[in-house]
């Protein structure tokens, strides 16, 4: 689907490049730094080192140390600094090296980033993006693999975005930077260097709050995002062989959820499987269930299944693949709702 969207835009764009997701993010940051002198990047190791994942590779060489800032090792410090910058007319894009390192900055996010607009009755806003690689499956050490998007979805005043393709990564990132309110931009580490995809060289934006039907289907709807999208697609492919037609939806924005895309699909299929690698209890999956109950209760033909991480700290890598939802677990859930 995303590919076809690119094709539609080719008539107007100046160029298309085959990029990985990490390259698409780099390209998106570069595009914004070129376009808007108020935009600047800050974080640990993002300048000379180009980021531990190379998301900011080469940008300091082009834009200098004042726009691509290597900060001291101080998450609360540089997120707080970004608050001051945003108050004073800049548009900071902050990199948290891993989502699990956001906890020291959580106070800044919960008490200032998300509330400044409310607190000042709209006089000040917080046009900032907080980028954070997240998720398990790349044999990272403890804390590096956390997938705690639900913590932020629960905080009023911040949008939460999570791309799953290179094309979406750039389009959503540019929309996030343009947004007048703060956005947590979650980057699935596992997909950073997966497949390549055609990505326009110019500025294009994907509206926040909108999901995408990645595959049309009739029998069961699968909701997923980020690193779980390939799992969703694999399971849907397996089900096709068994004659079960799955509709696969990439939600892309976790707050606010795309209520319409959820309701439309559930009302069509009547059966739902939700996949996320965050912990089950209080996870975003529970919120999707709530939207379904509110909008489509009478259309349900089976209880909703969630395939999620467990209510345990993400284990060290010897067991992380057991923690993560697998194609097998998703397939079993699909069969369960289909044969209910």
């Amino acid at each position: 689907m995303a590919l076809s969207k690119v094709a539609n835009k080719q008539a107007v764009q100046v160029g298309v490049k085959e990029l990985t997701m990490i390259q698409a993010i780099n390209d998106g940051l570069k595009t914004m730094l070129e376009e808007d002198p108020k935009t600047l990047l800050l974080g640990e190791d993002i300048g000379k080192n180009g980021g531990v994942f190379r998301a900011t590779d080469g940008l300091q060489d082009v834009f200098g140390e004042k726009r691509v800032i290597d900060t001291p090792l101080s998450e609360a410090g540089f997120v707080g600094t970004a608050v001051g910058m945003a108050l004073n007319g800049l548009k900071p894009v902050v990199e948290i090296q891993f989502l699990g390192f956001v906890y020291p900055a959580f106070e800044q996010i919960a008490t200032h980033v998300t509330r400044m607009r409310t607190r000042t009755l709209g006089y000040y806003s917080m046009p900032m993006v907080i980028r954070a690689p997240y998720g398990a499956g790349v044999r990272s050490p403890e804390i590096h693999s956390d997938s705690v998007e639900a913590l932020f979805v629960h905080l009023p005043g911040i949008k939460v975005v999570c791309p799953s393709t290179p094309y979406d990564a750039k389009g959503l990132l540019l929309a996030s930077i343009a947004d007048p309110d703060p956005v947590l931009f979650l980057e699935p580490m596992r997909l950073y260097r997966g497949k390549r995809q055609e990505v326009p060289a110019h500025d294009y934006r994907i509206e926040l709050g909108k999901g995408e039907i990645v595959q049309q289907g009739e029998d069961v709807t699968i909701f997923a995002w980020g690193a779980m999208m390939p799992i969703a697609m694999e399971a849907a492919e397996l089900m096709k062989e068994q004659g079960i037609s799955c509709e696969v939806i990439d939600l892309r924005t976790l707050y606010p959820l795309d209520k319409a895309i959820i309701a439309d699909s559930v009302q069509k299929t009547g059966r739902v499987v939700i996949i996320h690698e965050g912990h089950e209890t209080g996870g975003v999956g529970s919120e999707i269930v709530s939207v379904i109950m509110e909008t489509s209760f009478l259309y349900l033909r089976a209880p909703i299944e969630k395939v999620t991480g467990f209510d345990v700290p993400v284990p060290l890598f010897a067991l992380e693949h057991t923690y993560l939802p697998t194609t097998e677990r998703v397939s079993q859930a699909i069969q369960k709702v289909y044969s209910f």
Binding site: E44, D45, G47, K48, N49, G50, V52, D70, P72, L73, S74, E75, A76, G77, F101, Y103, P104, R139, S140, P141, E142, I143, H144, E280, T281, F310, D311, V312, P313, P315, L316, F317, A318, L319, E320, H321, T322, Y323, E328, R329, Q332
Partner: protein
């Protein structure tokens, strides 16, 4: 400020005495003990990097260059003292008495690797930066409440001094005169950021002034200097005089981790060029030669013993029983909640194996 916090040394780069008054405390047996531990963790570190390159363990955190800082500080501790290391201080943990098998299991992604030794109070490596400094303060305060003379040591790098927890941990310790030693290893880089961009102060030791505690700056490549600085700080804390901040100036020869490429941010060829001049093991070897206590046969024998010990431990790591899926669920709470119990049963019933 550098003048106020001079770099304490006992031997120079050629291994010659700068301060012979310490000779009494550094008899042959003790010096050989230092060398043995430094060689042991150096060998372990080299194996760690090699195992990662071969895909036999996960991401590894090397500490080559910091052997003197880690061994000198660890050997200064008393058996009942607490150690709060970071992910780069496994050399200190091993020297203090952490189990080698468990250390290797940790690098192999096994939670069993975090189990502390039964004999020593060695905490699992702290992965978040500076967050364990307040823990060391608390453990040390608890020893005070119990009326012991036990102390705690917290290890951390130069980057950690920028985090809020650094301030909070030291501030509380200084207010309550907690028996804790804050042992900083300033190795020059926090991943890619050089210390000059980490902070505007000339030294880390001088930060002690803000808390009204002693700050000590020591040559972290001189195992004797580190040993005496930490011993003195521990003694001071045991006598109720509160914490000390020690800055051991050292060098990280290699990458931040095996996932990092240091040539992106520093002249690695230059590091390799000066490596032999500053190597803490070579410095100790030269010292032993000056004193006439270097014996090649002894060196060969400990090297063989260390190699054998490591090879056997690596073999045990690689043949260690597979992790049980239930391990993931059984230790989150003393009594599993219904949610966890349900999730565990679900994965076990669907044949979820590692």
């Amino acid at each position: 400020m550098r003048e106020k916090y001079p770099l304490l040394q006992i031997i120079d780069q050629e291994g010659k005495w700068l301060d012979e008054s310490n000779e009494e405390g550094l008899l042959e047996e003790k010096v050989k003990q230092f060398y043995y531990h430094m060689l042991r963790i150096r060998t372990y570190d080299q194996k760690g990097v090699a195992l990662q390159r071969q895909g036999r363990i996960g991401t590894y955190v090397p500490f080559a260059g910091q052997e003197a800082a880690q061994v000198g500080s660890a050997l200064a501790l008393g058996n009942e003292d607490w150690m709060f290391p970071t992910y780069r201080d496994h050399g200190a943990s091993l020297t203090f008495g952490a189990d080698l098998d468990r250390m290797l299991l940790h690098w192999n992604g096994r939670i069993e690797g975090c189990l502390p030794s039964r004999e020593k109070k060695i905490m699992p490596a702290s992965i978040p930066i500076a967050t364990h400094l307040p823990h060391a303060t608390g453990a040390a305060m608890a020893e005070g409440y119990k009326g012991t003379r036990n102390a705690a040591i917290a290890y951390f790098g130069d980057g950690a001094t920028s985090e809020g927890d650094f301030h909070e941990g030291i501030n509380i310790a200084s207010v309550f005169k907690a028996p804790v030693v804050f042992f900083n290893q300033n190795n020059g880089y926090a991943i890619s950021l050089p210390v000059e961009k980490q902070m505007n102060s000339e030294t880390i030791a001088q930060k002690a002034e803000a808390y009204g505690i002693p700050g000590v700056r020591v040559d972290g490549m001189d195992v004797f200097a580190v040993y005496f600085a930490v011993s003195e700080a521990l003694e001071r804390s045991r006598s109720g005089k509160g914490p000390t901040l020690i800055e051991a100036v050292t060098m990280r020869f290699g990458a931040h981790t095996t996932a990092d490429d240091p040539s992106k941010y520093r002249d690695q060829a230059e590091v390799n060029r000066i490596r032999d001049q500053v190597d803490p093991l070579l410095r100790l070897e030269k010292h032993m030669k000056h004193r006439g206590i270097w014996e090649m046969a002894w060196r060969d024998s400990i090297e063989t013993a260390i190699q054998d010990e490591l090879e056997a431990a690596i073999k045990r790591m690689e043949t260690y029983e597979q992790p049980a899926v239930s391990d993931m669920f059984d230790h989150v709470f003393a009594e599993p909640t219904w949610t966890i119990e349900k999730q565990k049963q679900r994965i076990l019933s669907t044949g979820g194996s590692s």
